[in-house]
């Protein structure tokens, strides 16, 4: 398999915690500009895979390459984030005691060292970028409100907005529609399709309705490795997927 023209390349990755194999010989390739949905039962290793890609967990064996050439196992979270991998957590994680605007300001692409931050003045370009993102995530009228006062769904959107502010090449989005109404779910699908136009995206989700909305290639994980891969119709017709995940 060639690494060139891939944004993410995992080959033969394994990791175990206290003897439990969370990821078992996992191979997964994401092309540049591709959006991929990942499904699978609880404990299939979806979040662990994201931990490996973002540098939170080191794999015991296997190759993890970003952009065809960067070995991600040699870098930590902050370095990987600066290379251009953004991550949304399963549980929406925003800075609750800050306003929406400040949340985005802290996420905005730029230098990440202490002294520039100490004497930082907001530039017009930054203010414009924040306005743009507030428009995209539809929180413009709440910009001065504390993030703690947002609903669960709005926090999910704010977190996606923070990813956008970071301007990554690859977005890892873990369960973006958990706790959302159907209308919000549809909106989120539309938002992610928009984002996927100029970013590579991996979405982990349980909501099959939402995955169908995305209309992209699906990978089903089970016990730490790929069980089935293809279009949603193909994957959901797969006997083994029905067996372990979808249910009869």
């Amino acid at each position: 398999m060639s690494k060139s023209n891939t944004i993410l390349y995992l080959d033969g990755v394994s990791v175990s915690f206290d003897g439990f194999r969370a990821i078992n010989n996992l191979s997964l390739v994401l092309d540049k500009g591709e959006m991929r949905a990942i499904i699978g039962p609880n404990g299939a290793g979806k979040t662990t895979m994201m931990d490996i890609v973002t540098g939170k967990t080191r794999p015991d064996s296997g190759e993890v390459y970003f952009d065809g050439q960067v070995d991600l196992t040699k870098h930590d979270e902050a370095e990987i984030a600066m290379m251009g991998i953004g991550r949304k957590f399963q549980k929406p994680t925003v800075f609750e005691s800050h306003t929406i605007e400040d949340n985005l300001m802290l996420a905005l692409k730029g230098p990440r060292s202490i002294f520039p931050a100490l004497f930082h003045r907001r530039s017009a370009a930054e203010a414009r970028r924040i306005d743009d993102i507030l428009g995209i995530i539809r929180l413009g009228d709440k910009r001065d409100e504390l993030a703690a006062n947002l609903s669960h769904g709005q926090k999910q959107w704010l977190e996606i907005g923070m990813l956008l502010a970071q301007d990554p090449k690859l977005l890892l989005v873990d369960e973006p529609v958990a706790g959302m109404t159907d209308a919000e779910t549809e909106e989120t699908a539309r938002l992610l399709r928009d984002i996927a136009r100029d970013h590579s995206v991996i979405v982990v989700e349980h909501d099959m309705h939402f995955v169908r909305e995305l209309g992209v290639k699906v990978t089903c994980l089970h016990e730490g490795s790929v069980l089935s891969e293809g279009s949603l119709d193909f994957v959901s017709a797969d006997e083994r997927v029905v067996e372990v995940y979808l249910g009869r």
């Binding site: 973002t54 939170k56 979270e77 902050a78 984030a81 600066m82 953004g86 991550r87 957590f89 994680t93 925003v94 800075f95 609750e96 005691s97 800050h98 306003t99 400040d102 300001m105 802290l106 996420a107 990440r112 060292s113 202490i114 931050a117 100490l118 004497f119 930082h120 539809r138 929180l139 009228d141 709440k142 001065d144 409100e145 504390l146 703690a148 006062n149 947002l150 609903s151 669960h152 769904g153 709005q154 923070m162 970071q166 706790g179 109404t181 159907d182 209308a183 919000e184 779910t185 549809e186 909106e187 909501d207 099959m208 309705h209």
Partner: protein
């Protein structure tokens, strides 16, 4: 939204008022001590000047702790160590100023060294005859210790109660080290019997007043610096690390460096507090490293309200004034009273005095605005007080674009 802005304005005004009061006190108290006749009703006795000067040093220490605990969630139980190190650096200067006026009359060696049969001055005592050198050491020694300690602790991602425990271990280790006579810092007697500071008699009223004024001005300056740090983008980052450290990492920030900077600045502030404290109380000994001292600082900050800048200052002043009064009336029960106070504050004033005042004011303001709006027959344009967080199960509002009907998920 509006409440948020009100709070911001209120907090800034409060900082300005605090700085103004401290500067005013720095002028007025020395004047009332020096220029007013002792028979006048306005006369401030010298012992009060020394006592409040000491409290101001404690307040500076509490403010230093607030920067790391209130704004970054690092519960340091070893801040007394930085305070004591700053104090020792100042104490060494004061010892060398004694010169040949000591009991043994040795022009070079301080009394305790003569007593312990030191042949010559240990290398680390060189330079301390110069004030500028001692002043640099007051900043550098606590700052360097905090930097090295924080470098390892934060890099290894030691957080929460484990970090608190190792800070406690650090101050305890220093306590044991400084108790040893071989350390060259006077063993358990510490450094005392000071004569001069910058050529002025430390016992004189004018010197005491000057030290008091210096403490008040330094505290005012520290309030300003802390406020500027907290209000900057870095300060927001600091709070972000406190609330969601992993999120900051995945945004590309190095959380360990964010913490390290605050921890080092805080240690330097604590060192300055110690340096101002020592000439005012006239002694520094290893007792200042006692873990219980550091814990007491945490109580001050908690009582006043952490994360508020002004709160820990109020807490330090109130608790210490209480301590002075209480130890006079019922000396045996002070520790029980302190423990009881901490329990009571945790139970009834979780945000401390200042935090409680804020939420009380916020509620009152929201109520007043609501009642005015009701009289006018218009919608109250007031956000709910920020402590009320809407439940996660939201009703769809104007935010969702289409299909407001909530439907069960598939």
């Amino acid at each position: 939204m509006i409440t948020g802005r009100f709070f911001a304005a209120g907090a800034d005004r409060r900082i300005a008022i605090t700085i103004f009061i401290l500067l005013a006190v720095a002028i007025i108290v020395p004047l009332l001590n020096l220029a007013v006749s002792p028979t006048s009703a306005f006369y401030v006795p010298s012992y009060v000047v020394a006592l409040t000067g000491k409290y101001l040093c404690y307040a500076l220490l509490a403010l230093a702790l607030d920067l790391v605990w209130g704004y970054c969630g690092i519960l340091s139980l070893g801040h007394g160590a930085f305070f004591a190190l700053g104090g020792y650096a100042m104490g060494m200067y004061l010892m060398r100023q004694i010169g040949s006026r000591g009991v043994y009359g040795n022009p070079l060696l301080p009394d305790f060294m003569v007593f312990l049969n030191y042949g010559e001055l240990p290398w680390f005592w060189y330079g301390f005859d110069q004030f500028w050198f001692a002043a640099i050491m007051v900043l550098a020694v606590p700052g360097l210790l905090a930097f090295v300690f924080g470098w390892f602790a934060f890099r290894s991602r030691v957080t929460g109660v484990y970090l608190s425990i190792i800070t406690q271990a650090m101050t305890y280790a220093l306590l044991l080290a400084f108790f040893r006579n071989d350390m060259g810092f006077g063993g358990n007697n510490g450094l005392t019997d000071f004569k001069d500071i910058l050529g002025y008699n430390v016992q004189a009223d004018a010197t005491r007043s000057a030290l008091f004024a210096a403490s008040a001005v330094t505290l005012a300056l520290a309030v300003f610096v802390t406020w500027a740090i907290v209000g900057s983008k870095y300060g927001k980052l600091l709070m972000a690390v406190r609330d969601a450290e992993s999120r900051t990492r995945f945004l590309g920030w190095r959380a360990e460096n964010v913490k390290l900077f605050a921890f080092t600045v805080s240690a330097v502030m604590a060192g300055i507090a110690g340096a101002l404290y020592v000439p005012q109380v006239g002694i520094i000994n290893p007792g200042e490293f006692e873990p219980s001292n550091s814990i007491e600082v945490v109580v001050w900050a908690a009582v006043g309200g952490r994360g508020t800048i002004v709160g820990p200052i109020i807490g330090a002043l109130v608790v210490n004034a209480g301590k002075s009064w209480f130890t006079g009336v019922l000396p045996a029960f002070w520790l029980f009273a302190l423990g009881g106070l901490f329990v009571a504050v945790t139970l009834f004033l979780p945000k401390g005095i200042v935090g409680m005042w804020d939420s009380w004011r916020g509620n009152a303001r929201a109520l007043r605005a609501a009642s005015i709006a009701e009289e006018d027959g218009t919608d109250p344009d007031v956000a709910p007080p920020p402590k009320i967080v809407r439940s996660a199960a939201r009703t769809p509002g104007d935010w969702s674009a289409s299909g407001p009907e909530p439907q069960p998920a598939e």
